[in-house]
Symmetry: C2
Subunit: 388 residues, 2 copies
Amino acid sequence: MTHAVRHDAMRAGNLAVVLGALDRRGPLTRAALAEATGLSKTTVSKLVGDLIEAGMAVERGTVGDGERGRPGMAVGLSGHRVAALGLEINVDYLAGCVVDLSRTVRLLRTQATGNRSGAPAEVIGRLRTLAETLLAEAAGLGLSVAGCIVALPGPVDQATGNIHRAPNLGWRDVEVPGLLELPLPVLADNEANLAALGELWFGSGAALGDFLHVSGEIGIGAGLVVEGALFRGAHGYAGELGHVVVSPDGPQCRCGATGCLERYAGQDALLTPEENMTGLVARLHAGDATALAACEKAGTALGVALSSAVNLFDPDTIVLGGIFAPLFPWVSGPAEATLHRRLGQMRARVPAVVVSQVGADGASLGAAGQVIQRIIADPGAFLLAPQR
Amino acid sequence: MTHAVRHDAMRAGNLAVVLGALDRRGPLTRAALAEATGLSKTTVSKLVGDLIEAGMAVERGTVGDGERGRPGMAVGLSGHRVAALGLEINVDYLAGCVVDLSRTVRLLRTQATGNRSGAPAEVIGRLRTLAETLLAEAAGLGLSVAGCIVALPGPVDQATGNIHRAPNLGWRDVEVPGLLELPLPVLADNEANLAALGELWFGSGAALGDFLHVSGEIGIGAGLVVEGALFRGAHGYAGELGHVVVSPDGPQCRCGATGCLERYAGQDALLTPEENMTGLVARLHAGDATALAACEKAGTALGVALSSAVNLFDPDTIVLGGIFAPLFPWVSGPAEATLHRRLGQMRARVPAVVVSQVGADGASLGAAGQVIQRIIADPGAFLLAPQR
DNA sequence: CCGATTTAGTCTATGTTGTGGACTAAATAC
DNA sequence: GTATTTAGTCCACAACATAGACTAAATCGG
């Protein structure tokens, strides 16, 4: 239900409207803010005053654009006080970052460690150490970290932040947020979802329109961003592109079905057991026929699965991330050709296939960005937060 | 952007909160409403007064449940004044209905006419006559019709309500809402989307959880309902289940691709040119081997396409409507078996496949219901509407 | 160089809305 | 028949946004 609107909710809502306008339209004068939001100058002045006092906005000097009249004082988001922590647990690394309110990356650490079949408590302990280091450094920068989201490689219960199962880690039903024991609110989300948001805020962003972000790792996940917000299915199991049908009579998949995309374009299908991604890319550059054929096949299969996804989701753009980012030159051609072959006649516009602009840090950046997004959407809840 | 909250918006929001509570939780006393919404008794009393005056709510008598204390006066949605018009243009019929605020169907008319390759102006003229008849009858019942939505068999631009192309009607870029020239606000939407909403409000409804509604006609469309709201892709082209891949090397489809679901389970794939649906069902009941085999094949193909859709959308339930409703006994078995085969090992819960509870009127009912939904979500805009 | 004009931002009186608590109404409990 | 309990209304008050007057600081034109 839409919640009851009392006076305090009205104020909180308008605070969010002003902060949101600053976020989307860059620095603005109070007069321009009043124009943009439809609020009166008086109200905007009061709200801006509160935001400045809370360290969420700053005056950025007068804008004397040569026009007549008194020049306005530009007000913009301030990255000097409020910040967010993003963390990621993946199969072979841990990552963490601190992003400030203006979505500037202030700190970023990656730690290569084998977490495959590591005990949850042990892995989470290492992540806690990483997080505490980042929090201490953030405090040194004068930043007040308001919250944290952890990216996890598997479906996450949105209500609790617990991960139901992470096949690639060998985990089942682990209460990650609780076990982290950090002195701030902690939530968790699916790595594929957060990588899509990372692309939105730290990659090509709004230029993509509504986009489907494909994050191939061991499995292949996809996150859909519609009008700047993530589409989540019913229970966080949406976007499982890896098990979309490519050919119903295809090879057996570990999921029990046959002919899933993962069998054609998953990491295990492309790499030989003793080879890593760098090796494969080297072979591709050298013109190795086997490697080129495998990528051609993977790209075509990806195109088939994506054509189904486009029919169902209807995105403007498709972004290839994860393992498909380094393989993009070899995979995107066949994928795009297949998309055009299957969709070109029916649709006025076939989605473009582009490469992700954020690397492996996409998920942790998206996690921190999501915290920032929540703060901007409801700054009232953070105005009274302790300042360092 | 979230819109600025002024005093009038605060009041409008609270009106919506109260009306929404009445809609979802049935008749309630003012005291119970205050409890449910978090508003004070005073405020609830004032808001309820306005709603009663506007004819959107009525007192339904005291609830003397034997408890101590003064008995409360139950207040419920009133279906006596505000209503909505739903229309549908399909290949071989026109349909129209009037639904009141309490989502009771007050009037329902279907008109069998061949609209395939009929000139838009002519077909819309017939629809206008139908609409005007319904509006006159509604006025006779004391109903004030606040708005209208038209269901169309093809992708619809949400901003304008114009249909871009309707292959089964042979239409391109027709401004249906404008051409109707009705004396009330008219919008349009995709037939598959509205049929899904029809199932939500006039069929099995909330018991389904988040569901995917498959509406097979000539083409096969799907509408996804998440938390009581429709998921729309980027431009209203989402949910094209008919062109999801079943087998990439399958037969040529009219869309230019190969092996689309439509070629296995579309109306044209199941019926011989000289046969209609009734004939097919009769043959199935008689045990005709060819017909049974065709349905088995269609059901399996549907299961394959749906397994991809479930991987991407993650619904709780799948509802089969349109041509799949009469064919349900023969199609659902193979479809469900295929879903279990492909998804059973990976997912804790495979979506149940159920039959639609609303017939061919689903889309026009959903259209009217959507208007009602909008009124309930923002009653403020209709409080000053002319009363009959 | 100085007044007219224009735009930015603040200040003050006012209006709308929701709230808490006092008050009235109408039932059951003893 | 009185005490108790719950429903609903009334009234004084508080929170917030607003309109318009007012001050501040620039450009324009002579």
